[in-house]
């Protein structure tokens, strides 16, 4: 059964059931309410009727008042009361047909609805009676009204019983201007059917009105419908056939009659009314119920259709998007199915979402952390992903590149070289580039070209084609390649051009590589060198076998390499001295594969060394001459100074003499100055002669301090010339030594000269040399310390400075310090150099003190 039909059936059944139930419950309720409403309405009616009745009764009295106040009435009464009534006796029958006080005006006459109208004199005798209906005579009691009139003292209506019939009576006295009571007008009418008709005319209700009288079971005395409720019917009888609304008991003033007033509705009439109303009600309800059921059914059908659509959509979604078809159940409740589907779908979606989120996170993590620059762009082409590595590589923050064309990252030079290449590839979807590793040049934000190695791939996502570029910076690799290439070519050039021979051998001692110098040294070609054993060149030949054995031993024991010195024989038979510096040649596993050796031809060096040894003895004298040359210019300065002064004084004096302004005092002064300066010249020349005196070592006992002072005097020329200050800190006590003063002075001057030269650099601001002497702590030696404010020695050269020919100066032979040390050592002393704690060079000279040696000082 299709869902729609089922829904319609359920809806209809539910509708009918609800309607039936409502009908069952609602009808009695409605009926009861109808009764209550009806009763309330009747009650209201009855009260209304009662008010009308009251008004009717009041009108009786009002009628009397109106009649009395007529002029005709007053005139008539004053006439008859003062005339006839004084004289005449009241008559038994005094009916009048048309009394003069009765208003002629018909309207006023209509007021008079009383059955009997009586005019009573002051003595309470009835004088005139007017009848409404000529055929109905007043009862006898009315004709002797004195009893009745007493009751009328309040001039109001009241009810009383006359001859067993209820009467409504009212009266009003008439007084003249002097307030004398002349007559009383009295109205009386029986409360009968006429009275009831009168009442009926006034009310609107269709209901039956009855007046009842009696204490126990009151009986109807008059009725508005004698057929339905005839006179004399008792109240209990009325209850059988009528719905009796509340009984209204009433009396007026001093009435001695108790009457009850009721409105009646027949029960049958009420039933009919009730039925008709209820019927209408039920029809309306039925109509309403049907409308509701139909509407609801419509809505349900519509909803069902939607549910089915939804179900279909969910199934389609599950199949297409998640790839997991939902279980297709043909039977059963479709809503239930839908619920199950949703649950399943939710689960699937959650699973899919989780895996999606996980893969997205993984993707994100990969893209964020991968070392390669990742750039993803679409076909537009606009960059959509620009990972941190790419930001670092290209120097752009991601937000600057997102949405930009990736072509912007290409190097300008690349774009110029391959115009339009990017756009062509883009048009073809980069098909030609997939799966290839490309090397292109991109451009950093600052314009630096970046060589890149990259791959490009693509993916389809949400109908969009994306291209993924993974690029890595190969600047380093390129640089390494170039460095390697350069290094190799450097190495090759070195091997080719170095003047030392280089050879490689295998484990058997066979030469596998030989550089041009190696071949050249031996007068052979490189081809001739390769392939022969290492030792085949050794001279004399008998040494070759020794070397072969030694080589074999080295291969086995692998001792630390030490250089060999051999003699080799060249092609043309020349014997050469070679030094072989060698080391092991190892493969990557560290195994020894043979030797690599540098062969230096030291033939010339050996000869030079021999020559040098020959010459070294002559050197000391040469060096001294050189030192002399260096200080000669200083000496010249020193001579020029006094000579210039002498000249100035002489010329000045001559000038003055010529000008006639030379006083004897001036002349004296000038001549004295000239003499002083001439002596100064003499002193300089003397010192020089002493220094130049040639002689072999001539040791004598001398004061070390004095030797220093004299040396300083010589050096003073040069130091002053070079802007260097000399500071002396000599020991106060004499320091006797046995030495050649000239030679020691030469040492001191050499050391000073050395410091002066070292401090001549521009960078040296303070130029001071301090010379100090003292006795050593053991008192066996005298010490001399020279420290300067120069740059000091480079640490690695400290030991070499005393070597002959070692020099850092452009001029100079590098012999000064060497000679100095040899002189000092010739005196059994020591000369060393070091760098001072605050920079600068420090020379330390030690000489044996002569006193300790036990020799006499004088």
């Amino acid at each position: 059964m299709p869902l729609t039909a089922k829904m319609v059936f359920i809806t209809l059944s539910a509708g009918v059931a609800v309607w039936g139930m409502l009908d069952y419950v609602q009808t009695p309720l409605l009926r009861a309410q109808f009764h209550a409403n009806l009763l309330k309405e009747l009650e209201l009616n009855n009260q209304m009727n009662r008010i009308i009745l009251d008004r009717l009764i009041k009108r009786f009295h009002n009628t009397a008042l109106i009649l009395i106040s007529q002029k005709e009435f007053g005139r008539h009464v004053e006439q008859v009361a003062r005339g006839p009534w004084k004289t005449e006796k009241p008559l038994a029958n005094c009916l009048t047909t048309h009394p003069p006080w009765l208003p002629r005006n018909s309207v006023l006459r209509n007021l008079l609805q009383a059955q009997f109208t009586l005019l009573v004199d002051a003595d309470n005798h009835v004088r005139e009676i007017y009848l409404q209906d000529k055929h109905i005579l007043p009862p006898q009691a009315l004709l002797q009204p004195s009893g009745l009139l007493i009751l009328l003292s309040h001039s109001q209506s009241y009810m009383t019983e006359i001859n067993g019939a209820p009467y409504l009576i009212t009266s009003e006295p008439y007084r003249d201007e002097g307030e004398e009571h002349l007559a009383t007008l009295m109205l009386a009418t029986p409360i009968d059917d006429n009275f009831m008709n009168l009442l009926r005319e006034q009310v609107f209700s269709r209901s039956l009105l009855v007046l009842l009288r009696g204490e126990r079971d009151p009986q109807v005395i008059t009725t508005s419908n004698p057929q339905e409720a005839p006179r004399g019917t008792s109240l209990s009888q009325l209850h059988e056939r009528f719905l009796v609304t509340s009984l209204e008991s009433f009396d007026y003033g001093s009435s001695d009659l108790l009457l009850q007033f009721a409105s009646l509705v027949t029960k049958k009439e009420m039933e009919d009314l009730s039925r008709s109303i209820l019927g209408q009600e039920r029809r309306a309800r039925l109509f309403l119920a049907l409308t509701l059921v139909l509407t609801f059914t419509g809505v349900m059908v519509w909803l069902t259709r939607r549910v089915q659509n939804l179900d279909a959509q969910v199934r389609t979604f599950a199949r297409r998007e998640l790839g997991e078809p939902l279980v297709d159940e043909e039977d059963g409740d479709q809503l239930h199915h839908l619920k199950m589907r949703f649950a399943e779908l939710t689960r699937n979606v959650r699973l899919a979402h989780n895996s999606l989120r996980k893969s997205a996170e993984e993707f994100q993590a990969v893209v964020e952390n991968v070392a390669d620059a990742i750039v993803i762009f679409n076909e537009t082409p606009r960059i959509t992903v620009f990972n941190p590595a790419a930001q670092r590589l290209f120097g752009y923050p991601a937000e600057m590149m997102l949405g930009e064309s990736p072509a912007r990252l290409l190097a300008d030079a690349f774009k110029a070289q391959h115009p339009g290449r990017f756009d062509r590839h883009l048009a073809q979807g980069f098909k030609a580039l997939f799966g290839r590793r490309l090397e292109i040049t991109a451009q950093h934000r600052d314009g630096t070209p970046i060589p890149l190695s990259l791959t490009i791939s693509h993916m389809e996502t949400s109908g969009q084609r994306l291209f993924i570029v993974a690029a890595s910076d190969i600047t380093e690799r390129k640089r390494h390649e170039e460095v390697l290439k350069a290094s190799e070519s450097r190495f090759r050039a070195l091997i080719e051009t170095i003047p030392h021979g280089i050879e490689e051998s295998d484990r058997e001692g066979v030469i596998t590589l030989s550089n041009p110098a190696h071949a050249r040294i031996h007068g052979l070609t490189r081809e001739e060198m390769v392939g022969r054993p290492l030792w085949s060149l050794i001279h004399p030949p008998e040494e070759q076998e020794k070397m072969r054995l030694r080589f074999a031993g080295i291969m086995v024991q692998q001792p630390a390499p030490t250089p060999w010195n051999h003699r080799h024989v060249t092609r043309d038979g020349k014997i050469i001295d070679v030094q072989v510096d060698w080391n092991y040649r190892r493969n990557q596993q560290g195994q020894v594969m043979g030797l690599i050796a540098v062969i230096t031809d030291i033939t010339e060096r050996k000869k030079a060394e021999a020559r040098l040894r020959q010459q070294s003895d002559e050197l000391a004298h040469v060096a001294r001459l050189q030192t002399m040359g260096e200080i000669a210019s200083g000496l010249a300065h020193e001579l020029n100074q006094p000579l210039a002064a002498i000249l100035n004084y002489a010329r000045g004096s001559a000038l003055r003499l010529r000008l006639g302004s030379l006083s004897p005092e001036d002349l004296t002064t000038a001549l004295e100055r000239i003499s002083e300066q001439a002596e100064r010249v003499g002193g300089v020349v003397r010192s020089l002669r002493g220094f130049l005196r040639k002689g072999v070592s001539h040791k004598e006992l001398a004061d070390f301090n004095q030797i220093i002072r004299e040396a300083v005097n010589f050096a003073d020329f040069e130091t002053r010339r070079r802007g260097v200050a000399l500071r002396l800190e000599l020991a106060a006590e004499p320091l006797p030594v046995r030495a050649d003063p000239i030679q020691i002075q030469q040492v001191i001057i050499n050391l000073i000269q050395n410091s002066v030269d070292a401090m001549s650099q521009e960078t040296v601001n303070i130029r001071v040399i301090t010379l100090a002497t003292r006795k050593s702590d053991t008192r066996k030696e005298v010490e001399f310390l020279l420290s300067d404010s120069g740059p000091g020695f480079p640490e690695d050269l400290l030991e070499r400075i005393f070597e002959p020919f070692f020099t850092t100066k452009e001029k100079g032979m590098g012999l000064g310090l060497s000679i100095s040390r040899s002189i000092v050592e010739n005196h059994d002393g020591h000369l060393t150099a070091e760098n001072g704690p605050h920079g600068g060079a420090v020379f330390h000279l030690l000489l044996p003190s002569s006193l300790i040696k036990g020799e006499p000082s004088r």
């Binding site: 210019s633 200083g634 010249a636 300065h637 020193e638 020029n640 100074q641 006094p642 000579l643 210039a644 002064a645 002498i646 000249l647 100035n648 004084y649 010329r651 000045g652 004096s653 000038l655 003055r656 000008l659 302004s661 002064t669 000038a670 100055r673 002083e676 300066q677 100064r680 002053r720 010339r721 802007g723 200050a725």
Partner: protein
């Protein structure tokens, strides 16, 4: 020459210093001697006319250092170097810095006296130029900004109408400014004014 020029002798060798003073004193010139460059700087007043006889090599501040200092402080005192033992590079350096001459000791008295005379004339000339320059500078700085603009435009050969248009002022105002410029600059003709402006521009450039 309003004041008597002075020859400043700076040499660390007392004998040389005093003998020079003696020699120069012989021809009735004012001489002041100093034992070091520092002592000279402490007593030197650049407003006084004169010249400097300077020994190259001295302990502490050398003669070349002193010349360098005068150069950087733009003191145009003529310098004659005297040297006991000068070498060529030193002489070149001194001459490049504008030394008048570089004389080796012992020297010819006539030569040194001639050089001194030459130096004093040079000094007088420099002082005159400088004073003229200062006057000009003073006159230019007395001009208001607007007057300065007018003067530059006049010097550029513009007529009053063009100046008025360029500066967006009335011709009458231009004439007023122009008259003030002429009087403040003490120029007797436009040609003279143009000369002054050009000279001033050259000075400004050199100072830059």
């Amino acid at each position: 020459m309003s004041e008597q020029a002075t020859i400043f002798v700076v040499d660390d060798d007392q004998a040389v210093r005093e003998s020079l003073a003696w020699l120069i004193g012989s021809v009735h010139l004012n001489v002041k001697t100093f034992a070091s460059a520092r002592e000279f700087l402490d007593h030197f007043n650049p407003d006084l006319p004169g010249c400097l006889l300077l020994d190259v090599r001295m302990p502490g501040m050398s003669g070349l250092d002193l010349q360098e200092k005068l150069w950087t402080e733009q003191i145009p005192l003529p310098v004659i170097f005297i040297s006991g033992h000068g070498d060529v590079p030193m002489a070149v350096r001194a001459m490049k810095r504008g030394a008048l001459d570089f004389v080796e000791k012992p020297f010819n008295d006539q030569k040194i006296l001639d050089l001194i005379q030459q130096a004093l004339e040079l000094d007088a000339q420099i002082r005159a130029t400088r004073s003229h320059r200062d006057t000009l500078q003073e006159r230019v700085s007395s001009l208001s900004r607007r007057e300065r603009e007018v003067m530059d435009l006049v010097a550029a050969g513009r007529v009053n109408k063009e100046i008025a248009d360029e500066l967006n002022i009335s011709i009458k105002t231009v004439e007023t400014h122009r008259a003030k410029v002429m009087s403040k600059m003490a120029a007797r003709s436009v040609a003279e004014l143009v000369h002054m402006v050009l000279l001033h521009e050259r000075i400004q450039e050199r100072h830059r």
